[in-house]
């Protein structure tokens, strides 16, 4: 079973600046008081109106994603008759939506490029389509975990530093077959999460190959969200679950 908030697709790595703004706006609105269903409803109405106009601009922006999430939370709070909190959350969502609108000067973003049937594949390719030998992954305590942004398989500078440290161990243990396990947080459909976790594993494997590790020693495995590192259903829990772990084959 999954939670409601799905990993958004798109470019974005997690923007901590925006996150902290959400928290600050929520707090300010919360502290300002003003109870009752009517003000909260008014705030929700204003917010959804702005959100709809921003959606039409067709711009992918972190603030819009967060505004959508905040608005959904506001609605839920309203349904629970927590009107002050709903109003605060809706107000925060409206600020974020306005920020998303301002990001492109309130103008529509350019239409996405036409679909490419044969777009170049930028990920490292491997034409070896032979069957892999069965394996069982066991822990490799000397190898560190790499973390990823929201709906992203991009390696950050920090991730690359971790992989570089692991590389030394992998080079020193030439007899070991390394299992590169990709994981997701729980927000997404099962099949999409499998594909996303596979992409994360493939990104790491691609880096290791480019660093000279023999492809036959590397096994990328997408595990989706089946094996969470954290059961917390908050930003920190999600962050801990968006990861690649290194194991070795028995």
């Amino acid at each position: 079973m999954r939670n409601n908030n799905t990993e958004m697709s798109g470019s974005s790595a997690w923007n901590w600046g925006v996150v902290s703004k959400v928290i600050a706006l929520s707090l300010i609105a919360h502290l300002s008081g003003c109870s009752g269903a009517r003000p909260a409803k008014d705030e929700l109405t204003k917010t959804i109106a702005l959100l709809e106009s921003v959606r039409k601009l067709g711009c992918a922006h972190d603030s819009l994603s967060l505004a959508e999430e905040s608005y959904a939370k506001a609605q839920k709070l309203f349904d629970q008759k927590k009107y002050d909190e709903a109003r605060a959350q809706a107000s925060a969502a409206r600020e974020l939506a306005q920020e998303a609108s301002d990001a492109n000067g309130g103008k529509p973003c350019e239409a996405p490029p036409p679909p490419q049937d044969t777009a170049p594949v930028e990920l490292p390719t491997d034409d070896d389509d032979s069957a892999v030998e069965p394996f069982e992954a066991i822990e490799a305590p000397d190898l560190q975990t790499v973390y990823f942004g929201f709906d992203s398989s991009k390696l950050s500078d920090g991730s690359i530093s971790v992989i570089e440290e692991n590389l030394a161990w992998i080079r020193d243990h030439r007899e070991k077959r390394v299992i590169v396990e990709g994981h997701c947080d729980s927000r997404g459909t099962l099949e999409y999460n499998l594909a996303l976790s596979d992409r994360r594993a493939s990104s790491v494997v691609g880096y290791l190959k480019s660093a000279g590790i023999e492809p036959r020693r590397l096994e990328p495995v997408g595990l989706g969200s089946d094996q969470p590192a954290s059961y917390r259903q908050d930003a920190e829990g999600y962050r801990l679950n968006r990861r690649v772990e290194f194991k070795v084959a028995r």
């Binding site: 959508e68 996405p112 049937d117 930028e122 070896d128 389509d129 099962l190 499998l194 495995v221």
Partner: protein, 447 residues
């Protein structure tokens, strides 16, 4: 009491013409009536008929010590309810002492009770056999109905609940055909994942929800079953990575264990091609495979994006799939050779899990709505502006799969707090829980 009957019939007509239901489908012609077709039902409409099921009559000499009467009545009642086409006449409205008329109904009494159909059943227990007779009566026409395949003839069966249930299902399938023109789905199977304490198994669930049979057990994770032409395709981590397997006649065979993902298989309608997701070339793309050997026949997509969840059009000429190549996961369609890719969905930012209906006129899918909740929608692949929402305000509803006749959809829903399978009519009008116990995911209705 005739006015009750008139109201019920008017209600059926009102249902047909209300809201998004198209009135054009009300197509009773003389020819169809002669063949017993009351109305043609397609996935966009539901007509419900009132039917009565009086208690089965014991016409033998042996006492009913095995609860056969309850079994016959219970199976009839449950199957008719799940079908979504029938309302059962309330018992208080039954004529007095319906058993006294035996198997020859007094039509005027039943007509006045407001029912349109009547199913009479009788049985006799004879040693280790039972003799069962099921009869459908058209109360409006005041006559017995002759059903196909001899299902309404007196039949001798083993004293085995499964055999008795199977016989009742055959009968109900023909009752549904009499009223709707298309045979019912009972007897078909649904494959699904069941999450247990030790792993995820693949199970078969009967379409009346009475039985769940574990097919692929184990402590490892087994996922994404696809049941077609009597063959089960699934993804399993039993050998390490997510590899593709088949299960047929009790045997499990590995089909693809290439590096990376091997998943999401879908068999072409003619059974000659399998489309699956592989990622051994770096990105998750769609490939055509030989369904028996797993040999790659053609690469269909070549894009750095995520391409997953393929489903065939019933004529085998097109494949719908999910791609995030334009920034968010959306439904796309391409020709079966990989050419002419075009985006189908534009509403919503997260559209997934498509299943193309056997009639070809709808694709059911899961979409996240503006409140971040997953619900089931359909889209007309020939007119993508025609989007219908089938579930709402009942938690997460996902992973739709059409019945073999395209008139029902099985899906998973956590509306009770646990993930169960539900069956709904093609327009979402009637929804019924199929399983209990929780842990059911990603159903695939066998075709």
């Amino acid at each position: 009491m005739r006015w009750i009957n008139t109201i019920i019939k008017l209600s059926s007509l009102a249902l047909l013409t209300s809201g998004s239901v198209t009135a054009t489908a009300w197509s009773q012609s003389k020819d169809e009536a002669a063949e017993g077709i009351k109305v043609e039902v397609n996935p966009s409409q539901v007509t419900r008929f009132v039917i009565a099921i009086p208690t089965a009559l014991n016409q033998g000499t042996a006492l009913d010590t095995i609860g056969l009467s309850e079994q016959l009545g219970g199976t009839l009642e449950q199957s008719l309810k799940i079908s979504g086409y029938f309302d059962l006449l309330e018992r208080e409205l039954y004529p007095a002492d319906p058993t006294s008329e035996g198997m020859s109904p007094k039509f005027v009494n039943w007509f006045n009770s407001g029912t349109q159909g009547l199913i009479k059943s009788s049985f006799a227990i004879e040693g280790d056999k039972v003799r069962v007779t099921l009869k459908l009566f058209d109360v409006d026409e005041k006559k017995s109905v002759s059903l196909a395949e001899g299902v309404d003839q007196s039949t001798t069966l083993a004293r085995d609940p499964k055999a008795i249930r199977a016989h009742v299902h055959k009968f109900v399938n023909q009752v549904i055909k009499f009223y709707t023109g298309t045979v019912g789905f009972f007897g078909s199977k649904i494959a699904a994942v069941r999450k247990g304490a030790r792993g995820k198994s693949i199970v078969y669930v009967s379409t009346d929800g009475r039985s769940t049979t574990s097919v692929v057990k184990g402590t490892k994770t087994n996922l994404l079953p696809h049941l077609a032409a009597g063959k089960l395709f699934f993804t399993s981590y039993r050998d390490g990575g997510p590899h593709l397997f088949t299960y047929e006649r009790g045997k499990i065979k590995k089909l693809s264990s290439r590096r990376g993902l091997n998943m999401g298989a879908s068999l072409s309608p003619d059974g000659r091609l399998l489309v699956a997701v592989l990622s051994y070339q770096g990105s998750s793309d769609l490939y055509l495979l030989n369904p028996n050997s797993g040999e790659i026949l053609r690469r269909l997509t070549r894009h750095k994006s995520i391409d997953i969840s393929p489903t065939w059009s019933p004529d085998g000429k097109q494949i719908a799939f999910v791609s995030d190549r334009e920034g968010s996961p959306q439904l796309w369609v391409m020709n079966a050779d990989g050419s002419n890719k075009r985006r189908l969905t534009y509403q919503g930012k997260y559209n997934q899990s498509p299943d193309w209906s056997p009639k070809g006129d709808q694709i059911a899918y899961t979409s996240r709505d503006e409140n971040f909740v997953f619900d089931i929608f359909t889209i007309d692949p020939n007119d993508p502006s025609q989007v219908r929402r089938l579930t709402q305000n009942q938690g997460n509803n996902e992973e739709p799969s059409f019945s073999p006749d395209g008139r029902h959809i099985v899906f998973s829903s956590a509306r009770t707090g646990r993930s169960e399978l539900y069956i709904m009519t093609g327009d979402g009008f009637t929804q019924r829980r199929l399983t209990k116990g929780g842990g059911y995911l990603t159903p695939s209705w066998g075709r």
